[in-house]
């Protein structure tokens, strides 16, 4: 497998000359190291972020942001727009255990996030709308007027 440690450029005087066993094994060592490092650090599993699912979809004239935040109410959610970034911050209330019951299994985690998303273009904060329906937050971020495409008419000289 080729890597920068063992590729010798055709222009160098060493091209085509069989390398000595020491440098060959050193190159192979770096190859294996590079492969292992790349696989473990950048695999999808290692980069998966825990937390509520958030989708950002570019819908042409606006960006739709949908966040699944079960158990949250209006007062727990804070949404701010700053130029080309939208920040979602939630502070869930700790849910008390129901009275008179013993817990057999507890998988639900409170959806506490403080995430900032970079947007591909500036959005018009004044006309942005957001609704919370059964724990699902739907935000519509319309494109700012300066980011909309404008056709320029070409006149004959």
């Amino acid at each position: 497998m080729l890597s920068r440690y063992n590729v010798i450029s055709p222009l160098s005087p060493l091209w085509g000359v069989p390398s000595n066993p020491l440098s060959a094994s050193m190159s192979r060592l770096f190859q294996d190291f590079e492969t292992a490092f790349a696989r473990s650090a950048f695999s999808p599993a290692a980069r998966r972020v825990a937390g509520p699912r958030v989708q950002l979809r570019d819908q042409g004239e606006s960006i739709a942001m949908l966040a699944d935040l079960p158990g949250l109410r209006l007062e727990d959610i804070e949404l701010t727009i700053e130029g080309e970034a939208v920040t979602l911050k939630t502070t869930p209330r700790p849910a008390p255990s129901p009275e008179g019951f013993t817990a057999l299994r507890r998988e639900r985690q409170p959806a506490a996030v403080d995430w900032t998303f970079a947007l591909p273009y500036p959005v018009d904060a004044a006309s942005a709308t957001a609704t919370l329906d059964q724990g699902r937050l739907s935000v519509t971020l319309p494109k700012a007027p300066e980011a909309k495409p404008r056709t320029i008419s070409v006149k004959a000289a």
Binding site: R106, R108, G135
Partner: protein, 131 residues
């Protein structure tokens, strides 16, 4: 974390009826909702995270000691290209259930189900005679 031996959620998408096939056709994300399970002397309390689920899509069924729950996120008008989730969870509870006593409430994206144990499954104290 207690063991999950009694979790019967089908992992391959197979379902007892054709609803799963319908959902797959509409390209829903198949999501296993997280749950909290509580027990007391007379029954169980189950809380499932189903954010964005529409009330008419929630389907709760009791089969013996198993609870089958399904729900779907409703498509909103004006948002055509959005990924929707379909929630499904099958859970076997430790004792037989009284299906007629079940109540379900959907609030803030959390589905809360209360169900009583069947009369035969309840704890009965037996008096001891000493002569």
């Amino acid at each position: 974390m207690p063991s999950i031996q009694n979790d019967r959620t089908p992992s391959n998408g197979a379902a007892s009826d054709g609803a799963a096939l319908e959902r797959a056709k509409r390209a829903y994300w198949q999501v296993t909702p997280e749950l909290d399970l509580y027990e007391n002397e007379s029954g169980y309390l189950v809380q499932l995270n189903v954010p964005g689920a529409s009330a008419e899509s929630v389907d709760v069924q009791v089969v013996g000691a198993e609870l089958h729950v399904r729900a779907e996120q409703a498509p909103a008008e004006g948002r055509a290209d959005v990924a929707l989730s379909a929630f499904e969870r099958h859970l076997e509870l430790p004792s037989e259930l009284d299906a007629a006593s079940a109540t379900a409430q959907l609030r803030d994206g959390v589905l809360e189900i209360r169900i009583q144990k069947s009369a035969a499954a309840r704890r009965v104290r037996i008096p001891v005679n000493t002569n």
